[in-house]
Symmetry: C2
Subunit: 202 residues, 2 copies
Amino acid sequence: MSSKTKVYEEVLNQIRNFINENELSPGDRLPSERELSEQLNAGRSSVREGLRAMELLGLIETRRGEGTFLSSYRPHHTVELLSAFILQEPKIKKDILLAKRILEKEATKMAFSRVKNGGIEELSSVLSNGKINEKQRHSEFFIIIFQHAENHLLQKIWQLMEDFSYTIEKNSYNSQFYSQLIETINAGKYETIEGLFDYLYN
Amino acid sequence: MSSKTKVYEEVLNQIRNFINENELSPGDRLPSERELSEQLNAGRSSVREGLRAMELLGLIETRRGEGTFLSSYRPHHTVELLSAFILQEPKIKKDILLAKRILEKEATKMAFSRVKNGGIEELSSVLSNGKINEKQRHSEFFIIIFQHAENHLLQKIWQLMEDFSYTIEKNSYNSQFYSQLIETINAGKYETIEGLFDYLYN
DNA sequence: GTAGTTAAGTGGTCAGACCAATTTATTTTT
DNA sequence: AAAAATAAATTGGTCTGACCACTTAACTAC
C-alpha cells in the first residue's frame, strides 16, 4: 500500500481529520488509544508514537485513566527541548531574530489604527511594571500589540519565535524603544514606526 | 524514583545529554534503538516514542537498515506541522493573505541590496514567460526574491502560506505591480517599496 | 441517602516476535 | 588476486499481548 509514509504519520493525519470532521475544540476528548488503533488499522504502539509527538508539541494532553484531550496550543513544552538542540546553529538564530522583528514591526503597524485609549494605558503599565524582567516586558508588550493587530496567525508564528529566542538569546533592547513606540502610536505618527524598528530596536 | 515524568521524556533528556557529551553534530549517528533501550533501561517502544517525537520536530532522521542520524534543525518542519492545526480557525484566510503580503514585502526589502545584475534579469524573464499562469508567475517571482533575501526561515513560512492561498483563494494581482517592483529595485529606490505593496498589490 | 467496594476503561510501559531495508562478512566465480 | 554473488548480522518499522497505575462509574452494604 502506501509504502513510504510511516504509520505514525498517517495516524497524525487521521487524527487531524477526525478533529476537523467532528469539529473538536480544546478540551474535547479524543478516542482512546485502543479505539484509534482499531479504527485506523494500526498497532497501538504506532498510534502512541503519533500521540506522543503531538503531546510533545503541546497539541494534546493526556491524563492517565481519563483519556487524551485536545489542548490549546502551548509551544513551551516544545521550545525548551528544541532550544537545547538548536543552540549550535548561528544562522538559524539570526533568521529567527530577524523574522521576529519583522513580525513585531508589522503587527505594530496593523495595531496602529485599532488601538483604543485603553490600549495605550495597557502598554504603558507593562513598561512601568517593576516586577518583571526585560524579557518578560518585551513579551507582554508585544502580546498586547498583537492582540490589537487582530491577526491570529501572525501572532502564533511570532509566539513560536518569541519562545525560541526567549531561551536562546540575551535580548537586550534599547529601553527607549518601547516608550517611543507608545508615543508614536499615541501621536498618530504612522510613518515613524518603520524607522523606529530599523534604528532603535536592539 | 516515583517520578511523574514519562519515560519517553526522560529518553529525550538522555539522548540530548548523549549528544552533548559526545559532541555529536548533524550527520552523526545515534545508537540503535535496541542499544538505547538497554542503556537507558527502557522498553524499545518507549525509546521509539521519544525518537519519533524528535523526528517529527526535524531533529533526527531515520533510515531503515542504517540507523538514526542527527539532522540540522529546520524550523519549518515545526511550522508546517503546527499550521495544519492552527489554520483551522475561522477568519484565517484573510490572515494568511495579509501575512503573506507582509512577508513578501519584507523579503523584497531584504533582497533589495543583495540583488545582483543577474537577479533583475531573472525576475524580468519570469514576467515575460508566457507559458505560466498568473499564480505561477507570482510564486516564481517571489521565490527568486526570497532567494536573494537569504532568510530560509521566512521563505519556508511564506511558501507554506503561498501553498495554502494557492488552493483557497483566487489571487488576482495588479499586473503593473511586478514590473514596477523590478523597476524600483533596479533604480535603487528603497523607500518606494513600502508604498508599492500598500497601494498596488492586490 | 451515604460510604465503601468493585469493575471497567484508559494511559504507561515492557517484552517478544516478525518484516523490510541496508550493511557487513563470507563464499563463490572469474 | 579481484570481482561478483550470496549469506549473515544489524537496524528501523510494526504488531500483539501482557501487566501496571490511575480514574470513573456502577454497584453494594449500611
